[in-house]
Symmetry: C2
Subunit: 514 residues, 2 copies
């Protein structure tokens, strides 16, 4: 019996109570954030129209390559596009008409229904870092990631109160064969966490495995009717989708599972060296990919993603937290809202090799605009370091603290009676002190977000305690978190069935290491 079935059978409220008991020690108080502050929009209406018109021109005149996938090419031909080998050009209005069926918001179900997240609209979901081949911590330095590291990162994301989503490839477990590691990764998300997760995209059969494992976890019928994973489809920018991504896109979209169509653009390399040019290209790419999901299955949930960075013209490396990608981000969020689909971007991105000031300036300069400009799904919310090459354990918990601050900012102002606090102002009066007044005594426990890692002690106390910097304190914190980890209960029958599926799949394949 699946968790969803169990939950349904026990009846809603009782089931929710039982699950709450099981998970309160690590519980996030809400499944995701509902934004209560206005959106920051940096681009004008006129600017939006210029970008949209030019994106249409690119789709009509330049087109998009859908590589080595005759099925997709045939689908486009049938839909009325002009197909010439891999290249597909779109008559004006075709893409727009296909976009109409994409939902503005959708629910991604978790095995713990209290952790279901809503993606789109006023909702904000934070997910951890995705993709790094390396991990690092202050004790052991930078090294290739293993399945053990992967599991530890899943545990940290489960424990983090301000992370709503378990993510996907929190690091590459390079000790597992390339063609089998997706099974262990998806299994770790399913077993070690009860938050929603992302599926494999590195081959269509791996996407299919993700769906099969989801059917074991949630029940087949449930999966056929509900979205239980959100997976990452990167565009091969500029203006191309490769066969691997197309295979996964089709597999997920046809199964009603969400994908994030993500133009992946380092401006100056995979896109024009200007913000507006990058936006035009990203818009064209996202529209084409989103439209394709709707060709696969109208109404299937899909997210407009954006990964935007500026190329360092000195080193050829991507840079983060810089102003130009923030201009791209803000306008892209506006474009996604006009397209009426959820938007993914942002995160605590940085180029630094260390969890130092560079890492923090760049991360904060990436996260704050994402939060203010209305990103719905913030991937790379915690742990990202060195341009995405490294998942850092220290940075993971440092970033989680920042996500907590973002969650508080998104709550906005309290204009109920306790907000204005006129009685307190009258009570204290000129030259008084608020520490002892009734209003402060009532609210001080919850009045301010309390950082888990900032040191605000007097200099002498801080010095006496060892003059630690934030990274050193973070080293202690992630170990504390891991030591406190308890696995969220999972029906042993489901667990066995998952393991049996994995064993069978692994047996059926020879190991591949590249």
């Amino acid at each position: 019996m699946s968790v969803a079935q169990q939950s349904a059978r026990r009846g809603g409220r009782a089931a929710r109570r039982a699950l709450r008991r099981d998970t309160t020690t690590f519980a996030s108080p809400v499944p995701n954030i509902t934004r209560r502050i206005p959106l920051t929009e940096l681009c004008s209406e006129e600017g939006m129209e210029i970008i949209e018109a030019n994106a249409e021109t690119v789709l009509q005149e330049v087109g998009i390559d859908f590589k080595d996938d005759e099925e997709v090419q045939a689908m486009w031909r049938e839909a009325g596009a002009d197909v010439d080998g891999d290249r597909v050009r779109f008559p004006k209005g075709l893409i727009r008409s296909l976009l109409r069926t994409a939902p503005a918001t959708y629910v991604q179900h978790a095995r713990n229904p209290e952790r279901n997240v809503t993606i789109g609209g006023d909702n904000v979901v934070f997910a951890p870092v995705y993709g790094p081949p390396f991990v690092s911590d202050l004790d052991n330095g930078r090294r290739y990631g293993t399945i053990k590291d992967f599991q530890n990162l899943v545990k940290l994301a489960y424990l983090a109160p301000h992370i709503h989503h378990s993510g996907g490839t929190v690091c590459e477990p390079v000790d597992i064969p390339v063609n089998k590691r997706h099974l262990d990764m998806v299994h770790a998300h399913m077993k070690l966490s009860d938050k929603p997760f992302m599926g494999a995209v590195t081959a269509d059969e791996r996407a299919a495995d993700t769906i099969k494992m989801s059917e074991i976890l949630f029940g087949r019928e449930f999966v056929s009717e509900n979205t239980v994973c959100t997976s990452l489809i990167n565009v091969n920018s500029p203006l191309a989708f490769d066969a691997t991504m197309l295979g996964s896109l089709k597999t997920y979209a046809r199964a009603r599972q969400a994908v994030i169509i993500t133009p992946f653009i380092m401006s100056g390399a995979m896109g024009p060296v200007s913000a507006v040019g990058t936006l035009i290209q990203a818009m064209a790419e996202a529209m084409a990919g989103i439209a394709l999901t709707q060709l696969c299955r109208p109404g299937t949930p899909v997210v407009f993603g954006l990964f935007s960075s500026a190329l360092s013209m000195q080193t050829g490396a991507p840079t983060f937290g810089t102003p130009e990608p923030n201009l791209v981000l803000s306008a892209a969020a506006q474009l996604a809202r006009r397209m009426k689909v959820p938007f993914r971007s942002g995160g605590n991105l940085c180029g630094s090799k260390l969890p130092d000031a560079q890492a923090a300036y760049e991360s904060a300069n990436s996260l704050m605009p994402a939060v203010l400009c209305g990103v719905n799904f913030v991937l790379h919310g915690a742990g990202w370091m060195e341009g995405g090459l490294v998942s850092s354990f220290e940075k993971f918990v440092m970033d989680c603290d920042q996500l907590g601050m973002a969650a508080t900012l998104l709550k906005g102002y309290d204009f109920t009676e306790d907000g204005p606090a006129l009685d307190a102002i009258r009570e204290v009066g000129p030259s008084g002190h608020y520490l002892g007044c009734a209003h402060t005594q009532t609210h001080f426990e919850s009045a301010f977000y309390r950082s888990t890692l900032a040191d605000n002690n007097a200099f002498e106390h801080w010095e006496a305690a060892g003059s630690q910097d934030m990274a050193e304190r973070a080293n202690g914190l992630w170990k504390e978190w891991l030591a406190s980890y308890e696995q969220p209960p999972l029906d042993p029958a489901i667990d066995e069935a998952l393991q049996a599926f994995i064993d069978k799949r692994k047996e059926a394949m020879a190991d591949k290491w590249s």
Copy 2:
């Protein structure tokens, strides 16, 4: 002959050319930033009205203390307020009617007219840290500031291309007697920099000395008709002004010199433990102080300032970069715009003892909202550390890099032909690479803000170069800057006159050390 007179005599364009020649090696390309992106406003119209109505109630019912200043009390009595000892209560509408003469923007003149700044409206001015008794650098650690440190910080602010204003007490020079140090501080700003500056506020006679020295530098007539300093008047929150601040306020306002009326509120100590309560109190305090400047001299330039921090309920220390003060900041900026006066807040604020990740997260989380929400005068833009107790040399140049990024963000989008870059998208096409295309070749030098301190090299290169963190690189950079310093030329006759004034004033007073 004053610089302003010289400049006038030589005639505008030629004078500007001459000055440009003199200063190009260190030149800021523009005197201040003009914002080209929309404002971020986090508080609703309805919220604004609640805050404004409650602030009026506080002014009427609770009132403000104007301490130990019978002249000010008499001025309020004459203006129609209800004066009871120090306490002044304001009939509804009185303050609003006085605010009407405060200018929405003003020009603060610099001795180099190319560095005049406009304060208010769409203009953004960055100034360095103000007030720390300590300084620190990686070589010598944390120590009391000296006049040598002060001069070095003035030099750094002069050299920094994205700092528009020389500031005021960039650190306390504690090796100079308390009653004489203002002379050396103002002299350093006048001689070592040609950017605009702030005056002394620690006693009314020190404010008067600032004005006299300004008359030597700019010419007496020029100073009588123009604003040549902007000085910081902190409110003794809650709801009180002390005699020292009132003395300086009167001296500057009557001389047509700008002041920044700054509610200084750690919520939970000097203000309510809620954002909205803090805003109501800050609004009442700012309105009363601004109205008083207009009583002193209608039309004198005045800035709505705000220093907002949340009290750490664990340590009693101020915290920075946290969400609640950012909510206060955004709404206060809106209130100032509705009041039609310039707004000061923000800066690269932090509580950290080191230029580490805490310092950077907190600083970025303070600066980004200040920039997006429309702060006109950003004090503490560079160098602030440990809750304002320390001016850090490393953090100074680290923050300057961030100011450069903010300046770029404020420029917004380029929708001229080079922005959309359609020709480049056509030229490169699907799966191409933009590095070699004509558009990139034309624009790559100026396309992206180039960080002075971020390391974006490959890990191996970075490791081979010594695995430095950002603070270590910053240690090298501020020394490079200081080594390159050349004093901006100053008429020797003016320099002598300034020195003679200082010598005479110092001779007239016995040293005071507290």
